[in-house]
Symmetry: C2
Subunit: 351 residues, 2 copies
């Protein structure tokens, strides 16, 4: 390794648990946090980035803009219920609208492997077209790179996106207050298990389908009922457990959830049992969590249930003063346990 | 391949020259154009995207925003004069500012290969920090994915970016008018040949260094002299020849350049001769082409020469009414020849 330019900024290599990148560094758990805290933030940190929200809120000439980026490397690229293309559109639309922004514009950057079948690419592109139409957004800029055969795995897609945040909307993971209710828009773990079952060759009487969907319509409905929603997140990598932990830590509050209220499809539950995976840690790609003031909870819930992507919405718990920065779940026997952030990687490359 | 969701939009697979992706589909030449025209635009096309500028100009609540994306897959990731990290910062800053926008915010998305040395990643991240400081911009959002060993080649970086375009700035590849002068900010082919020589194991008395640099300061200087610059482009993939062809086609004008005025470093020229490569088609990563009204050309040129990235700036030709949509070069013997767009890929993975 040779560096020919003398850099003005430098810092010694921090002490890390590993000398090389592990799959878990990309899994959203403890090793991901270590990589961000020790390598990325010391170099890139600033007031906006340090918030570690799923999107940046930027002030541009008196307008508030949400800006986000995500790369998609799911394997296989076609899975029950969707493919990498619509996942890339929906995922970035969701990251934008979780800030309360109206999603407007996307960029799409393809990294294609030499030898990729053009018919497969075309199928993926058509499903992206359907996804942008359904979400009501535009792709306005793009990039295509081709790498030699073997230098990437079929194709990777990066989507970045811009949305506009209205003046009176102020969502933030740091806003949670004791007494707030925790809403979940539907069943958990669908996407991750759809990918896993096809990878593991499992088959069930009823196929497990990915829940990939753009939630900007649902978010709009919810904000039309109350602008006082504290925060929204989509439980993707790391699942519900990791997302709730992030919220609890950002607001320095406790989160108390009830296992019996959390909807999991029967076949998803069976697959989790067979593979020894806890559905709390498995990604969705078409669900959201909203933390809302108790007074507004029922009204918002009613509205959610009328939207096709919120039919199974429910209240799964509340914010507490106790157990600050922790997530506690009462199981079906009435026993509390701590729901921690995973260290490792249960499910690589599910998005 | 199975698709489980019935798509509402569909279209038959268009007839293409190839059934599978070729390296040339990512090279910026004819096959790239075919992929964009037959696969991407029929699905994604809209008024903004169809312009095929290197960045989208968006109107957001009376502000004009430039938005761009680029993935970087250069091999090797360290090359003489730089590495993939600073290339990813500078490349996207340049794509933003070629629209006349002031570059403001970047996203960074890493795709890391399992097993990547963390010290190497740290070195790359530090050089990215130096690049953002030098360009005066911020990284405000990011993403990290890790793929299994062998599923990508060390690391890929996507950077997307946002800039603000002032009210009185209106650059476009469609603006060129006969009589305009063509300015080039310095020597061509440096970056591409720096990567190629290390890949081919060539050594020269004086090392060929990449010219990777952020040009936002140079652009600001130029616009301070004249707001009537017609268009700017950075000649990256496909080099000067491809970029000039794009400009000629967008404006339906001819472009006439003079070989003897185009600066090429001696060692770059030698490397091109040894490898049988025409420097006109080789990428820079720290140069720009500006098309300006003849009256303003000398003043803009003087200003460019005072900037560290425009020291060797020169006028290389002019826009003509004749030979519409074509680029003609007068060689050193006074003979004209057509400078066409390449079909194939001379230099894969140089950015």
């Amino acid at each position: 390794m040779s560096i020919d330019i003398i850099n003005s900024f430098s810092c010694p290599l921090p002490k890390m648990d590993y000398n090389t990148i592990q799959l878990a560094h990309g899994a959203g758990g403890r090793l991901s946090a270590e990589l961000i805290d020790k390598i990325f933030l010391p170099c890139f940190g600033n007031e906006t980035l340090n918030l570690l929200e799923d999107q940046a809120s930027l002030e541009i000439s008196n307008n508030r803009i949400a800006f986000t980026t995500d790369s998609f490397v799911v394997n296989p690229v076609f899975f029950p219920g969707g493919n990498i293309g619509e996942l890339a559109i929906n995922g970035t639309v969701n990251d934008i609208c979780m800030s309360g922004a109206e999603a407007k514009y996307l960029s799409v950057a393809f990294i294609l492997e030499e030898g990729l079948n053009i018919e497969e690419l075309h199928t993926i592109v058509i499903s992206m077209k359907n996804a942008i139409d359904k979400a009501g957004i535009q792709i306005v800029t793009g990039d295509t790179k081709v790498v030699n055969k073997g230098a990437c795995d079929k194709l990777f897609i990066n989507t970045s996106g811009i949305g506009v945040i209205k003046e009176d909307i102020h969502l933030s993971a740091a806003n949670l207050q004791p007494g707030d209710k925790i809403l979940l828009s539907g069943t958990i773990a669908d996407h991750g298990m759809a990918v896993m079952t096809v990878r593991e060759g499992l088959s069930f009487r009823s196929k497990i389908l990915s829940d990939t969907a753009a939630l900007n319509g649902l978010v709009k409905d919810m904000l039309s009922v109350s602008k006082n929603i504290r925060a929204m997140r989509d439980p993707t990598r790391g699942g519900l457990a990791t997302t709730l932990n992030e919220l609890a830590k950002s607001s320095k509050v406790g989160i108390h959830i009830f296992q019996k209220t959390i909807p999991v499809r029967e076949e998803v539950n069976s697959a989790c049992e067979i593979l020894g995976i806890d559905p709390l840690y498995v990604a969705n790609e078409g669900k959201l969590i909203a933390i809302v003031p108790a007074k507004a909870a029922d009204k918002i819930l009613d509205k959610m249930k009328k939207n096709e992507f919120g039919k199974n919405a429910c209240i799964i718990g509340e914010v507490t003063k106790e157990h600050a920065s922790m997530v506690i779940m009462e199981n079906e026997l009435g026993v509390d346990r701590v729901i921690d952030v995973p260290t490792g990687e249960q499910l690589p490359r599910i998005c």
